[in-house]
Subunit: 408 residues, 2 copies
Amino acid sequence: MELVVLKFGGTSVANIPQIKKIALKVKKEVSLGNKVIAIVSAMSGVTNDLIELVKNTSEIPSYSEYDVVLSSGEQVTSALLAVALEDLGIKARSWLGWQVPIITDRTYGKAVIEEIKTEKINKSLKKNDVAIVSGFQGVSKENRITTLGRGGSDTSAVAMAASFSADRCDIYTDVDGVYTTDPRIVKSAKKLDVITYEEMLELASQGAKVLQTRSVALAMKYGVNLRVLSSFEDTPGTCIIREDQNMEKSEISGIAHSLNEAKITLSGVSDQPGQAAKIFGALAKYSINVDMIVQSSSINQEATDITFTIPETDLALAEKTIKQLKKKIGFKKFLTNTNVVKISVVGNAMKSQSGIANTMFETLAKNQINIHVISTSEIKISVLIDSDYNELAIRALHSAFGLDARLM
Amino acid sequence: MELVVLKFGGTSVANIPQIKKIALKVKKEVSLGNKVIAIVSAMSGVTNDLIELVKNTSEIPSYSEYDVVLSSGEQVTSALLAVALEDLGIKARSWLGWQVPIITDRTYGKAVIEEIKTEKINKSLKKNDVAIVSGFQGVSKENRITTLGRGGSDTSAVAMAASFSADRCDIYTDVDGVYTTDPRIVKSAKKLDVITYEEMLELASQGAKVLQTRSVALAMKYGVNLRVLSSFEDTPGTCIIREDQNMEKSEISGIAHSLNEAKITLSGVSDQPGQAAKIFGALAKYSINVDMIVQSSSINQEATDITFTIPETDLALAEKTIKQLKKKIGFKKFLTNTNVVKISVVGNAMKSQSGIANTMFETLAKNQINIHVISTSEIKISVLIDSDYNELAIRALHSAFGLDARLM
């Protein structure tokens, strides 16, 4: 007997027939003698409709109310799945974030899970009831509803799996696993049977939309046995494993891209200590994630240029924040560019093999693609390029790193 | 400074422009120096959509999950109204049933309020924050969401007004008050400036759709200062008052009708003590409200006929319940008729004046309308007739009792 956490995304619970199908998947686990915690997203489209409602009411809504509206989507699906299971003769009940409870901090709109109380659901699992938990939501210590930010249901699932020491955590989604790159761009992209947490983390944060970054980081931290698989097809999916379990020796596991990028350049920043802290401290206060950072050395040693990237969706807020600091920082120009894409080559093998950066830069140069910014980590190299070259760059790199599937 | 409870029904919060309009009404009360508790329904149509979702998932859903789905409608509007108020510079926050908390029993789907805790909202009111409470919902002692049954938001509003000793409770709806009868049927129907609790109670339970019965009963019990008025027009509405405050001396306050009626006849019931208790006890167990009851005396003293009415929506459940008891009760035939309407003449004056029943029966006879069942209370007479005669009966009675407004 195993304890399994199954997470179903928006497309997996898109409508009633789909919810009934999911119920059959849960039933199958139950009939194998497993105890099941299911995490559900909102029906696809619902969250966007709810956001629209709030935005039409006020341009600057308070996030605590925003969360009350948004959390209703997962509330509905969790109850509907419980009803569908009962209809199949499986005992089940819905658990909202505040009922579990899943306790978070007070960062409404993108809250962080602090603690999950296990007593109540454990009691329910002992009676062999399936626990269906609304993903994406929690409750603050003030007893108000919080949400975990876009894609937060993956995080809910992994956090539940960690807290309940689940034997595995299956993320059901609309793709059948993790690929070497976006199969819509590169037809010959290969599905990976296994990938390490670290690689998945880089792929996720670099824009492979399969799993949310936070959920992978959490899974790595707590050693959650994670698997990505399709709700629609009966294929084995991709297992996310520890590095020492990885028997595959491919140099590079995948190529990711992210179009949600905005490049900001502050030119003529007076060159004195503490400037970066002022800029990035202010952005952090608004929870704006700064990604690539480049500071060009200045010739006259008096002024410098600072270039960095942020999510395009945060650009308006970032611009406002920084312009308020203009006097304090003392820069000349504020330049932005949103016609950019970040392309990342990710692979554990990078640690042990040299020449990967070189292959990457040569491949791009051969295709006349100019690089704006470069950043690296232990297992990835990212470049920021004009978004016009997105597909060309991905195809060329996928081929250059020998990732194309062999044609039979 | 007064404490006022304002309740806004589904049509009053039907869309974002409407919610913004409502926010202005709340703002007006705040600018008068009043403390405000606002109760909101779901956006009109939403509750029906949610019911549809549940019914498409299972024909016999568990009511505890049904309530989780349904309560999301009021959850969304309460937060949206809070956002709209903040947009106007008015401090406000949403309160879900479990956050107040509004504690109910465990009759999911039609729960009864047991207690409302006032501490938290009182604290919030002290800071002059507007409290926006999701109507129609509460929480059971098991910490699960309950709903109060259709139209339950009126009950939420009155219960809140009673618990917080509000100075008044204004029910904003899509009509501008209580009329002598349905103005869509009788063009000359008059709006009443005042009506007593008892009369309103009979009108409400007899099918005047302005206010839910339970809410009126509750208002009477706790002496809540109730008023019905339009969200769309700026008219004074109808005040619901104690009998001793009623200065109007009209004989009859109104004529109500209800089409949601099913007549059940059990014929050949063996005539022995305890039969009625068996039948109505079984129906009560499923919370089916039995209304008019007639037991015909039998000639041979061995068998009798029992006729009664129930809400048409409960007919399938009632049929199943009674047929299971066939052996225990020993009846011959189970007959039903749903093509019936209940017409009621309501008025406090009935207590002191005779001849009202006579006028009613004569008027119906003059129009060749056959009466199936008669029932009476201190301040009303109801008859069950074929639904074909609904409008004819209402018009004739409205005129016979001198309720037609004078044409200027």
